[in-house]
Symmetry: C2
Subunit: 422 residues, 2 copies
């Protein structure tokens, strides 16, 4: 078989460790030069592929590629762009194949969540139909931890660690102040549809009474009365109340609390921010002084406090994807298979993309305590190994992490321009 080039693209929201996966892909391809030619990366994801903006990673220094392992963000750029079904937009698929052909791409590695698995799966099918078969490998990534089959998703573990460490630290702060000042602290975390990230806050709670005292999950409708009762109880019992709230919390009618009518000076609905809504409620109904934080992008870019388990798995998924490609596989995704809880052990598994695409893994109901405000021992057993170990980025003499910025030199174009409606 002639040596083919490899195309890698990042998709969707980035994570603290998606570049570790990129690092695994490129380093593994480089040590297999006899089987893999050049590694290209789509500039800003699949959009760059459609536009034939292919970053030639062979122009990047070895040290810079190695530094991807500890650099957050998406080094090649990512995008929120879902290819339509083949029937609806065959032109896009044909364009992809045209680009692959022009640049002798034999392997397409798409690093993303559910949508990306779907795209990779469709591309793997259309290639053969159009007479240019490409080996398509999905590479798992999502802080939302919602991919099926794989035990967990690279990216989630580091966000989980950030949330657990942050609520632990902020709780020590509010506890110090509570006797005469702030009594309630609210940390808003991501998770529009699932409470995986909010659940991670529960890892900070080791003993009875430890913060966070309340976790609000999108899986459970917000019950104002029960919530306020619990806040009051916590303040009376522990002196303060520490709360982790998922951005996706809804009321009984299914309406996001964050959309519950907060308006700016001009009367415009203010987007996002369930923490201030909860805070106002606490202030109004209970009169407690509060503080709130919204971690937003901080949580999913905080490479400085990444989980070593997560970094290792992210790298391993990139490596495995190339190994799969070399082994002639297509239409699959490497997975993380947990083989033991105690001690925690995992190995690389494999899933067909057809079974990954468009299927969302929900958080099991048994992970949430009966009262709806905490996590159960089985949740803890699942979550704990994922935040284990520290993997600090190197810092420069000025006290800042040495994050790499690649050169991102584009390969010369060979095709006519293509319009992408992004």
């Amino acid at each position: 078989m002639a040596k083919k080039n490899l195309l890698y693209a990042q998709s969707g929201g980035v994570t603290p460790v998606i570049n570790a996966t990129a690092c695994g892909v490129i380093e593994t391809a480089r040590v297999n030069r006899d089987q893999v030619g050049k590694v290209y990366a789509g500039e800003n994801g699949i959009i760059g592929v459609l536009r034939e903006n292919l970053i030639d990673t062979s122009k990047e220094r070895k040290g810079d590629i190695a530094a991807l392992r500890h650099t957050p963000g998406g080094a090649f750029g990512s995008c929120r762009f879902k290819l339509k079904g083949i029937e609806d937009n065959r032109a896009e698929y044909e364009r992809l194949i045209e680009v692959f052909k022009a640049h002798d791409i034999g392997y397409f590695l798409y690093n993303g969540g559910g949508d990306s698995s779907d795209t990779a799966y469709k591309v793997s099918q259309i290639g053969s139909k159009l007479g240019y078969p490409v080996q398509c490998i999905g590479v798992p990534k999502t802080i939302d931890n919602d991919l099926p089959i794989t035990d967990n998703c690279p990216g989630f573990g580091s966000v989980a660690k950030y949330v657990a460490v942050s609520i632990m630290e902020a709780s020590l702060d509010v506890e110090s102040m509570a006797s005469s000042s702030t009594k309630v602290f609210i940390l808003e975390v991501m998770g529009r549809h699932a409470g995986w990230i909010a659940a991670a806050g529960g890892l900070a709670q080791r003993e009875d009474g430890d913060p966070p005292h309340i976790i609000l999950f999108p899986e459970r409708p917000f019950e104002q009365r029960a919530f306020l009762k619990r806040v009051k109880e916590s303040v009376e019992k522990y002196g303060y109340c520490s709360i982790v709230v998922s951005e996706g919390v809804r009321d009984r009618k299914g309406k996001f609390l964050s959309d519950s009518g907060v308006r700016d000076a001009f009367g415009h609905a203010q987007l996002g921010g369930v923490a201030p809504v909860i805070a106002s409620l606490v202030k109004e109904k209970l009169g407690y002084k509060y503080h709130w934080a919204v971690s937003d992008y901080l949580q999913r870019s905080a490479r400085h406090v990444a989980s070593k388990t997560d970094v290792d798995q992210a790298y391993a998924m990139g490596k495995a994807a190339v190994d799969f490609a070399i082994a002639g596989k297509s239409g699959v995704m490497p997975t993380i298979e947990r083989t033991s809880d105690k001690p925690y052990r995992w190995k690389v598994g494999e899933a067909p993309l057809s079974r990954v695409a468009n299927r969302e893994k929900k958080m099991p109901a048994r992970y949430i305590t009966k009262d709806g405000f905490g996590i159960t021992p089985s949740a803890r057993k699942y979550l704990e190994p994922l935040i284990r170990g520290e993997d600090y980025p190197p810092y420069d003499k000025q006290g800042l992490p040495k994050y790499v910025r690649l050169q991102k030199k584009l390969a010369p174009k060979k095709l006519d321009p293509f319009e992408v409606d992004d």
Copy 2:
């Protein structure tokens, strides 16, 4: 001179390193057992002293005291409580002296900001007048970096590091997403009256074009037109715009932007949160997709990313305070004296409390660029050494920092109760 006991109290908002100062105090007292008796700590600060709730630190294990060096929050509790003037509330001062006398306190170390220096100063004066002279030492602490004379305040450097690292990381995230999604990211940081913390965000900006592209300082009135123009320019030039905004930013009339009319569903003014106000403005006027974060307590409790310079200085201030006490000093505060910028060198200095009390150090106007949106080279020269070095807390096997919780055993009471109006 008979061996006297020492009383230490934490005051005001806590910091990631105020416990490192406590560690310096207690460890230094313990190695000078011949000159310093027991070390007591006020439970929840000065309020605990007034109530005769004195934590006996001799009951704490050596390892736990050592762990204070890497534990955020205020381990003995703090309070927001300012003693009134002696004329207005002589009873409180007399009570303090009564407590000191009852527990044979010869040294009073008050760890706080400007208000605490004022209290320590007054106590040093009243003791002698009431016939029970106590050596009073102020110990500097404030994330706001607003104490005079000392080159910087313990606590600030770590918050500065957190802000610089966080905006660096989140900017890599938004840069990755900007081509098809979020184009503007806004990080809100503390600093009601001074822009020290916001300025620290500027340290992430090493080269022209590096984020943050805009810093909004409380020292400069918010100019909507110029701000929006700059946002647009950044998005057009760099593809995205990264913004650090101080919670204390005001409009031209002196009104906090965070109070500019954001109301919740019930029509109540929503307290805090200038980031969402800025975000709404950007969305309304420019139409860019945005994300915003409010770091709040996270920034001042993030011991996991503390500055080594800061931790060392915090410890040194605690040690120096005890050294001063042993040397017979009173009415003074140890300071950080910068002796060289390049290489950065500092030593312990000394300032009379009378000159520290109630004087606020403003950020020099020359630290802000002419356009009002950035920091100057002289600001960088001042700020950079303060975030240097990493000083990680130890982590347990489950991946969380080993923060200590003290036993906080109270010394037996000897006096009648005292009413404190907290």
